[in-house]
Point group: C2
Chain length 218, copies 2
DNA sequence: AAATTAAATTAGATTAGCCTAATTTTACTT
DNA sequence: AAGTAAAATTAGGCTAATCTAATTTAATTT
């Protein structure tokens, strides 16, 4: 159907559109794909030919409806496999990304749906990212950055915006786990460090960078 | 590491060596790979360069130790994934081959071994084919073709040599399942049809082609 | 052993996805 | 509005894996 490369472009474009707005720049895509700009121009022409993206010379590009559908399908696969790897095989949440990047490209609606059922129709992957349903519908998250809470406010830890293993390990080390309740005990005005009160009254003091990578729902 | 294509060549060569003897012909490999002969010559030169096969111009070729190791690793993956698809996800045994062909190329010893453990260290895949262990050791099968039994002899159905969905469905339709006991009730001399007595005294009459594709152990 | 047939290889092209270097287009400054 | 900087594209090349057509090598038949 589509090559792995095409699929990875689609996924990357989808994510860039999600965070950086509708239209994507060649250079931005080149950066996340780890290739040089002319390769992107090349690839986009091919993909535009297949109606996966709409592309106007030097004006940026975005996914077509068709392209979006493919991208969401891949994200669904990716997140379901991550759940499998963690829940069934016992991998840690910081180990599964690269494996899921490979598994996500195996195309079979039947496989995906059977896997979904086997896992008990999970709503989110091990990092809290929502899993699109079989129709490609992504539940709209109501989570906010922990950095947006004021001192005294509280929420439930629902996800991360930084998926790097080093950050995930940092959270493990400080016993900050998905589903925990987190209360902002205090905020140091001088350097924006946050003291957090976790489930069981444990307190940790963390930098702004940390609270700015945590999602909570209130 | 190696491309999917290379890995598929390695697997195909391994299987040809297993059934047709040590040295493999260009044309035979071209046929099973579904490509034309010059493509095979090309590919083999590349693979010889990587020490995956030993190759002498116009003299055929065979796997090196290194190549054999890679091939067996892929077969291990393939068969473990087939067990997963059937035992855990509920696929039928005639549906899993193509999916396993994709899953087998995901490389991670860690993944393979965790999957193996999750499945309870199975010894054979859903078609009865033996699964190499983590060291690449394949248990030597003591099974024989059902066609080699004489009238009155009996065995346990342990595997098939024809893996085509149409044959597997035929077996399903006649309630011939792995693990069943099968007794050769009689052999018709005229056309070599076999009447088999299955577990529970059910009798079926089948052609020579069928008994020549069934493996039994005595 | 010579002739014919079959198998394998070489030669030369093609496609996807990438590259570097050069050029063009767009955006930003003054 | 002109000049510069940044971003995007074109031009031309490379590699892996394939192809067809032509040639060479090996095997088989008479």
């Amino acid at each position: 159907m589509h090559s792995f490369t095409e699929e990875n472009y689609l996924k990357a474009i989808y994510k860039l559109q999600e965070t950086n707005g509708e239209v994507v720049a060649t250079s931005a895509l080149a950066q996340v794909m780890g290739v040089h700009a002319p390769s992107v121009t090349d690839m986009l022409k091919r993909m535009a030919g297949k109606k996966l993206v709409t592309y106007q010379k030097s004006k940026g590009f975005k996914l077509s409806e068709k392209g979006k559908k493919v991208a969401v399908g891949i994200i669904r696969n990716h997140r379901l496999w991550e759940v499998f790897l963690v829940d069934k095989l016992g991998f840690r949440w910081d180990e599964v990304h690269d494996l899921a990047e490979q598994l996500e490209h195996i195309h079979s609606e039947d496989l995906t749906n059977k896997l979904d059922k086997f896992l008990g129709f999970p709503k989110a992957d091990p990092h809290g990212d929502p899993i699109p349903d079989a129709n490609g519908v992504l539940p709209k998250s109501k989570s906010v950055l922990l950095s947006s809470l004021k001192a005294g406010e509280e929420g439930t830890f629902t996800g991360v915006t930084d998926h790097s293993p080093v950050f995930l390990n940092y959270l493990d080390k400080n016993a900050i786990s998905l589903g925990n309740s987190i209360k902002v005990a205090s905020i140091e005005e001088y350097d924006q460090t946050y003291t957090l009160q976790l489930t069981g009254k444990k307190e940790v003091t963390v930098s702004f960078k940390v609270v700015n990578s945590l999602l909570v729902s209130r």
